[in-house]
Symmetry: C2
Subunit: 123 residues, 2 copies
């Protein structure tokens, strides 16, 4: 399951608050994105068609629930980046995560040590 940028934003809103109506999603992401209601609705429809969400009518209003977990989506996004940009090799990707990151210097040093061990182990 491949999610586009806009789809990620919508999915996050639904993961955070399940189930959600279109209105609720708009309230959640609207400030950030400036989207129109109908934009959100289109996204929700497309995500439902893709199988990422399920929808159920409650009265005359559709409520949407995730059909895939955030964890699965994240896992497959990482996997896909790994394959696309790093030839599937985990270690080099970790290495890039340790530069200029949000981790503390100590954390970064620790990761770096870990990677060195990985390298030595592979040799």
């Amino acid at each position: 399951m491949r999610l586009s940028d806009a789809e990620w934003k919508v999915m996050k809103a639904v993961w955070d608050h399940q189930p959600s109506t279109a209105r609720q999603v708009l309230n959640s992401v609207g400030n950030d994105t400036g989207w129109a209601y109908s934009t959100v609705k289109t996204m929700l429809t497309r995500l439902t068609d893709k199988g990422a969400l399920s929808s159920e009518m409650r009265g005359n209003t559709a409520v949407y629930s995730p059909r895939i977990s955030q964890g699965d989506a994240q896992r497959s996004a990482v996997r896909s980046l790994l394959d696309r940009a790093f030839g599937g090799a985990m270690a080099p990707m970790l290495r890039f995560m340790t530069d200029g990151s949000d981790l503390s210097a100590a954390d970064r040093a620790a990761i770096r040590d870990l990677l060195q061990q990985t390298d030595e182990g592979a040799r």
Copy 2:
């Protein structure tokens, strides 16, 4: 600089062998992709327009060189995934990399320990 799937494949070929002609790129990726020559050429033109490659005519043949380093492209791809799918938080992303990965069990355990420290540090 955002690279699409196909663009990544082309860029990797050029990074591996600089500078490269369209024919060389095709030889490098053609087996894998089954692309036509003109497909590669289109990609190279688009990448040049985007500023990811520079091109220079050598005789009647264009040779392409990277204008951005593989490292920079990787870094920005990681950054972008981090923002899109993990709200910019490094630790959760690392956590997903430690499940079902190519790293050895020992490596994964080590990363897990590291993350635990990160969590405690943040508390």
